[in-house]
Symmetry: C2
DNA sequence: ACTAATTTTTAGACTTGCCTAAATTTTGTT
DNA sequence: AACAAAATTTAGGCAAGTCTAAAAATTAGT
């Protein structure tokens, strides 16, 4: 049985690997987990012994197949718990992350499979992230960042890149939810901000906001 | 924040205190937790420093008010999770104990209070044990062991003393569930076994079975 | 009441995860 | 290419929780 700590390392490395071609560096992992680089080095040796990562001193770290499998199972559990918390217990989408961080370590495939059925086999979590199936397969959508939409193009909001409390609450204030239609009215090249029209009204989104919103382009 | 280990010690001491006037002994605790006496002694010193137990060397151990509060909160969580697993995820009553042992350590009053509401404020868990309220208050019923019923007396099955897989599965086989009416037809003084009539048919219960079933007496 | 058996405690050691400080390797700059 | 800066690793330590073996206290038996 991997400990909570091992699970957290593997999950962090998975997250870092996903967004870059390079292996995850010691410092990146330390940052992600709030520990010190020396601690990480130590742990990498142990994870390597357990065949969860590919590790050579001073090189970056990547997950082995076994490591990826573990990471995806934790992510699956995390996201299903988030759906449960939002759908069944009425938590808001900005409140569920920390709880899911605890619940994801509960060790029972039977439990999580029943939970999945209870929730009616959701494909995405409350932030729009895909839920891996029991084999670790993740469905991909052809979503793009809102920054990729040209003036006049329309889309549906499908997810957020940054699911920090602050960003999610900002979206709440603007009454923007997953599934909402959205249309880019105007792009200011100066600061890359965009005027967008939603269900309700027009907003001006900063470049940062646009980078953090996923949409599926709607063809005319 | 108490660690999982601390929570488990406190819960074990609570359970031992409940069934005897004496404080829990080092060996009893070690047995209950599957550790060695030396380890327990060590831990008792630490729990005492944290004001969770009353401890004097070579005397038994009892919980302080603070310790009881912690124990009851863990028990509350354990039992609510059990209800969830049985009511919502269709686990059987003999399957939920180990999972609840993990889930009871999830640290969030908000979560457990919402769960309680989601489950419609159940008063008893799937084994008939009362669920402490958020202040730690437990409702008591005037239930007695089936051994306390005289020949001819009737009752309703309200709980089990021993919630081991084996005993619960034995009851399943006999189709005996909480809430079932039951009547003692005959008592064999020789081995204290009883012939009882349930909903469906008559069974002969050994003394051991009768000791482990709680019933509420029905007046005529 | 005294010794034997049992229980409990102490002592010393191990593992997991974490830290700081110092050494080493890699990377970047001129 | 050589040196400085940054990243990484090594070394040595600490806390929590566990163990075994041995010592001390309590309890039980005659």
């Amino acid at each position: 049985m991997p400990s909570f700590t091992v699970e957290n390392y593997v999950k962090a490395i998975y997250g870092l690997n996903k967004h870059s071609e390079e292996g995850a560096s010691t410092n990146q992992i330390a940052d992600a987990l709030g520990t010190k680089a020396a601690t990480v080095t130590d742990m990498l040796r142990k994870l390597s012994e357990r065949k969860l990562i590919n590790y050579k001193k001073y090189q970056g770290t990547t997950l082995t197949e076994k490591g990826k499998e573990l990471a995806l199972n934790i992510i699956r559990k995390h996201r299903l718990w988030e759906v449960f918390l939002v759908e069944k217990l009425d938590f808001k989408w900005d409140e569920v992350h920390d709880l899911a961080e605890e619940l994801e370590h509960i060790n029972s495939d039977e439990l999580i499979n029943r939970m999945e059925a209870f929730l009616d086999h959701p494909k995405f979590d409350p932030h729009g992230d895909p839920i891996p199936d029991r084999k670790g397969k993740v469905e991909s959508r052809n979503q793009v960042a809102l920054t990729d939409l040209k003036s006049g193009e329309k889309g549906l909001v499908t997810g957020v890149v940054d699911s920090s409390k602050e960003f999610l609450q900002y979206l709440d204030t603007l009454k923007i939810e997953l599934g909402n239609p959205i249309e880019v009215k105007q792009i200011f090249e100066y600061d890359k901000s965009r005027v967008v029209k939603t269900n309700i009204r027009e907003h001006t989104f900063s470049h940062q906001v646009c980078k953090n919103l996923f949409v599926i382009k709607q063809e005319e």
